[in-house]
């Protein structure tokens, strides 16, 4: 039977196979091939201003070891990735629990909570710039109510700028995490809560014993996507600080773009890109793996 089915399938399937092959071809040309080209370029001194490029072996990779800007950018990237992921997921869980009701007003609030996720990073960046800039909304308000005596440089001092960017990115991601956790909360069988009530388990204890383990699959997807999003984040930082002041908010993603398009150091940029790729893979695989195992053990 399977044999006849297969033979039957051969000829009339050609059109479909062609379409599938086209999709695969596009994927190979615009994702796999660029990866390979990037890898090759990372072993060269490629520079668009030079006529010829030479293989330089591992020189780009050894240069990375002593590159202060790279080290700083990695620190920025990891701080943002983990800080924002923790913040956005904590906010998401809290917000989801708060909004986990079905009346109209709660539904309206849920709709609204996701809005930041819909706007482009460029718009998000500019809106927050009007809030955080020296004579922006935040400083104006804080001066008016007397919390501050003089405007605070939310985007102008290195530490504050990184923190501000973290807040903005966490704000955007919280819309997403809230929706994911809401779905996870609603997949908890009502009986479980009822049983907990009968046993007198409530408040934080119920959260720890019932809610938190039950939303573990939601946590896995939400944490993984948060991490990946921050690791490749470009637009919000580009608009808010462009990596400044003094490179204090320059993530590795921004550094790569600067190396490639401003410094024209394509070869070295490719090597750094390989590092970011490895870092993303490492973070995604280890964290997702750990969270998956946790789902099982809970």
């Amino acid at each position: 039977m399977p044999g006849t089915r297969r033979r039957r399938r051969e000829t009339p399937d050609r059109g479909l196979a062609l379409l599938a092959a086209l999709a695969l071809g596009l994927y190979l040309v615009f994702l796999v091939l660029p990866l390979l080209l990037s890898l090759r370029s990372s072993f060269t001194n490629e520079n668009p201003l030079r006529a010829t490029n030479d293989f330089v072996g591992l020189r780009n990779y050894t240069e990375m070891v002593g590159d202060e800007q790279l080290r700083a950018s990695l620190k920025v990237t990891l701080l943002l990735a983990f800080g924002v992921t923790i913040a956005a997921n904590a906010i998401g869980v809290g917000f989801a629990i708060l909004l986990n009701r079905t009346n109209l007003s709660y539904r309206v609030m849920r709709t609204v909570a996701f809005l930041p996720q819909v706007l482009s990073g460029v718009i998000v960046g500019f809106v927050w710039q009007t809030i955080l800039t020296q004579n922006g909304v935040l400083n104006t308000a804080l001066l008016k109510i007397g919390v501050l005596d003089e405007p605070y440089p939310w985007l102008g001092s290195p530490n504050a700028a990184l923190f501000s960017i973290g807040v903005v990115v966490a704000w955007v991601l919280s819309g997403f995490t809230t929706v994911v956790y809401l779905a996870a909360l609603q997949s908890i069988p009502l009986e479980l809560h009822d049983m907990a009530s009968l046993d007198g388990v409530r408040g934080t204890q119920r959260f720890r014993m019932v809610t938190w383990p039950m939303i573990a699959p939601g946590t896995t997807i939400s944490v993984t996507i948060s991490l990946i999003t921050v690791l490749k984040l470009y637009d919000i930082i580009a608009v808010l600080t462009a990596g400044g002041p003094a490179n204090s908010t320059q993530s590795t993603a921004l550094y790569i773009v600067k190396l490639a398009f401003t410094s024209d150091r394509v070869g070295y940029a490719s090597a750094v890109a390989m590092l970011l790729l490895a870092l993303s893979a490492l973070v995604a695989l280890t964290v997702t793996g750990a969270l998956r195992r946790r789902e099982v053990s809970l």
Binding site: R5, R8, R9, D13, G15, L16, L19, A20, L26, Y27, L28, F30, L31, L33, P34, L35, L37, S38, F95, L98, L99, R101, Y106, A113, F114, L115, P116, V118, S120, V122, I123, F126, V127, W128, T130, I131, V137, A141, W171, V179, V180, L182, A183, Q186, S187, L190, S197, K232, D235, A238, V239, I256, V257, A260, S270, M274, L276, L277, S280, A281
Partner: protein, 310 residues
Amino acid sequence: MTTVAPSGGTRERTSLAAGIGAVPPERAGARPTGRPRRFGGRFRILVAAAVTLVFVAPIYLMLVNAFKSQDDILANPITPPWPPTLENVTQALTRPDNLIPLGLRNSLIVAVVSVALLVPLGSAFSFYISRRRGRTKAAILVAFAAGLMIPPQVTLLPTIKILTWIGLDHTYPGLILSNLGGGYLSFAVFVYVGFMRSVPDEIIQAARLDGASGLRVWWQIVMPLVRPATATVVIFLTLWIWNDFLNPLFILGPLQGQTITTGLYLTIGQYSVDYGQLFGIMFLAGILPVLGYLTVQKQFVAGLTSGASK
């Protein structure tokens, strides 16, 4: 494959609890006495409203200040626009460089053409591969899933190089072509493959025995069955491609006209003091995705959470 919409399973509870008034629906069964809860009813909604307000404050600012004069914005950035002025918006629309109309048009073309091609490519590929077995299939699917995680900065430069080889660098067809092959296709395949699994084999075999070709089975039988997947793919890819910044910025370059995001980025610098103009532009650039989201909100949330519950 299960799709869990936050409102889905709870509708029944709502109607059950409808007569019980202020008691939160999911407590209704457990608390027949309706005794006030420590954190329920009025207090809860006040907290929720307060948190939501803080949360949307930046969007509120964007909205109200688009309809205020420059002096008004500087003096009272957080008050509602009364009387509202349309000057910012009309000024943004009638700029000599046509930033908004051109940007919206270009973004629309790129997003619509990309998605219109990504849907058949992604679903046909997923259908084809989901009817196959074995290691090759698994390997190809893993390779596609990996595409979701690759930072675009890694593939950007070589992509431009490849487009240069085929003479499509700094063009819209080039940008669209690069959209078709990258992480967007990964996402489409990822979503479709999940849904294809739930299409019963018998239906497809019956159609095949009637002599329908693979293409016909895919288009006339499978596609209608996986409509929720198509909704998810269309909604999210449109939004992401519309909001994409890095690729259009470098693949199109500054000379090829702008999408709405790159246009905003490249022109807005000169308006750093003219807040009225700035907010007018941002309002026009942001209103379409927001309206789109509000229209298809249900499918949006369903799509977002279907992945989470798999």
